[in-house]
Symmetry: C2
């Protein structure tokens, strides 16, 4: 059912199917260019919860319930849930999934976690370990700022290369049968670290990882950008996207016209003061579930690469003078 | 190649094989009852590195290299590495694996991560997505104390229910062919939270999760403790082990004579001042790779359950008044 293509890519002969998906975002994301596409909006950043961390768990729960509703599944149908977020010890995920009684596998790939989760779900469904699986990831501007940077009250100035963590969540149901969008290939990324140490320039740290994974995938599958309708990256933002184009151009691959970055799609950089664009586990997840999969179902495009990118450092590692390791995981999606 | 047994258990018809394994521990662990079994000992808690965090990454690298050496594999043979640790953003794993150029999938299940990683590796190998995979996890007393509790210099008093985080790492190579120990069944655990809020009593928080997973497994496979030579738990310690026995006894399962807990095996509680026993991702991992798999290869026992347990809270969640969600993942190991 699964075969390996080239050195690193996996092909699903009987492709796992995304039978349901849902997105939940906050107010700022709802005010952006994709506002009308998201399934649910919390205008209150606490989503009625006493803390932002509990709010982020609530976002995940709503996205997961929305995805199950769309695929007509129930928690007891789900064999495994792959969940992840940016918070220490993945608390958004463990607390959000606590009430559902589903075998739980915590995933951490920073902002690449949505693609990682879909790959893990596809491995289990495609390999016969599961019939129905779920993936859910989230991020929240307020929880991320206070964990990674400064207390919000401090009002630290953000440089122009900084990205704005998306408050949002996305969830998909990956099944071994049914109607939906197929996961046909996957490439798991290697850790790539080019020595970038500026935690306000994640795009530059992640672009070389995206480049490595995309190039690996083209080599493994003997395809070129011309074979795809769209290539979406998770959240390289402006700086990282320009770097990616440049790196791929040097190898003779021009993706400028078909590449879109979720971090650039979700906010209007001219009016929303987000600097280099959006970021976070919830960025790629909410844009995938809010816009990309919907557009594919509508027939707007049917042959898509989705590459989510992650920066794997922590404040502790950064304070100890470490550079930022990047990673990028790729899935190839097709309409049935 | 893989079929589902009962509601939650997966059976590998062509079992993935642990073809190599290795363990690395610190001084205190080397002075414990299992000291002579570990493959490598760092008597310096910094392992020659400038910080404890970098030392923990070094422990992982040494364990991984040891496992590859035993299975006669090289980094370029490994299709995926599943790695995890207790540190925020899994930095021990991302920094340790950065230099190996292997597709990387970060796993987080707190102290259950070794079992989770072996299950993910078995899903990919058993399902055809990979030929050779690696799993590596670690923990370090000094990095864990300062992240989860107090600066070491503070000298906080530890209550008798507290466990001592093991400084150590274990790594296995999981392959689709070769000589070694077979992974025949796996049960992924659900999140179980009985409302325990005392972060100095992890055993009590994790025991109900271990109970849930073991009971699920017995029900799914229609087996009883009599069918196994040994049942090992990851790190329930004294408090959690007693609770587990009690809970299973209430269901008519007596495991007292065949159950061993890695947290109780690794230290001598009478002389090593560890209170309720050892804990940490590196506890189950180093005991599995240092003692259990070696004993199986020697023929001491050949039909074993290994259940690693994790407590999924964070200091932030705890400060916000949350209870501690537990999880436990089970693998059934057999000699070839």
């Amino acid at each position: 059912m699964i075969k390996r293509v080239g050195s690193y890519t996996v092909e699903f002969m009987h492709p796992p199917i995304i039978t349901g998906y849902s997105s939940v975002v906050g107010k700022k994301e709802a005010e952006g260019p994709l506002g009308k596409y998201f399934d649910k909006i919390f205008y209150d950043s606490r989503a009625g919860q006493p803390t932002w961390e509990k709010a982020e768990a609530k976002f995940q729960q709503e996205a997961f319930i929305g995805a199950m509703t769309k695929s007509k599944t129930h928690p007891e149908d789900i064999d495994f849930v792959f969940a992840g977020d940016l918070l220490n010890q993945l608390i958004s995920s463990s607390y959000s999934m606590r009430s559902f009684n589903i075998p739980y596998l915590g995933q951490y790939g920073a902002c690449s976690t949505m693609a990682q989760g879909i790959i893990m779900a596809s491995f289990t469904v495609g390999g016969g370990s599961a019939r129905e699986t779920a993936v859910v990831t989230s991020s929240h501007f307020c929880t991320a700022e206070r964990q990674y940077r400064y207390p919000l009250e401090y009002g630290g100035v953000r440089p122009q290369t900084a990205q704005w963590t998306v408050t949002g969540s996305g969830s998909v149901i990956v099944s071994n049968e049914g109607k939906g969008i197929e996961v046909v290939n996957a490439t798991v990324g290697k850790i790539v670290d080019k020595g970038i140490k500026d935690i306000n320039n994640m795009g530059a740290a992640m672009a070389p990882a995206a480049y490595d994974t995309i190039l690996t995938y083209f080599n493994d599958t003997k395809t070129t950008p011309k074979d795809y309708d769209r290539i979406f990256t998770g959240d390289l933002g402006q700086v990282g996207s320009e770097l990616l184009h440049q790196l791929l151009n040097d190898d003779g691959y021009n993706i400028d016209s078909i590449h879109r970055d979720c971090g650039l799609m979700i906010f209007d950089r001219d009016t929303q003061d987000v600097h280099a664009g959006g970021s976070g586990c919830g960025c790629g997840a909410s844009v995938l579930c809010g816009k990309i999969l919907k557009d594919m179902e509508k027939g707007k495009y049917n042959n898509v690469l989705f590459i989510a990118t992650g920066a794997l450092m922590s404040p502790t590692a950064n304070q100890q003078g470490e550079s930022i390791p990047g990673v990028a995981h790729l899935i190839h999606l097709k309409c049935q």
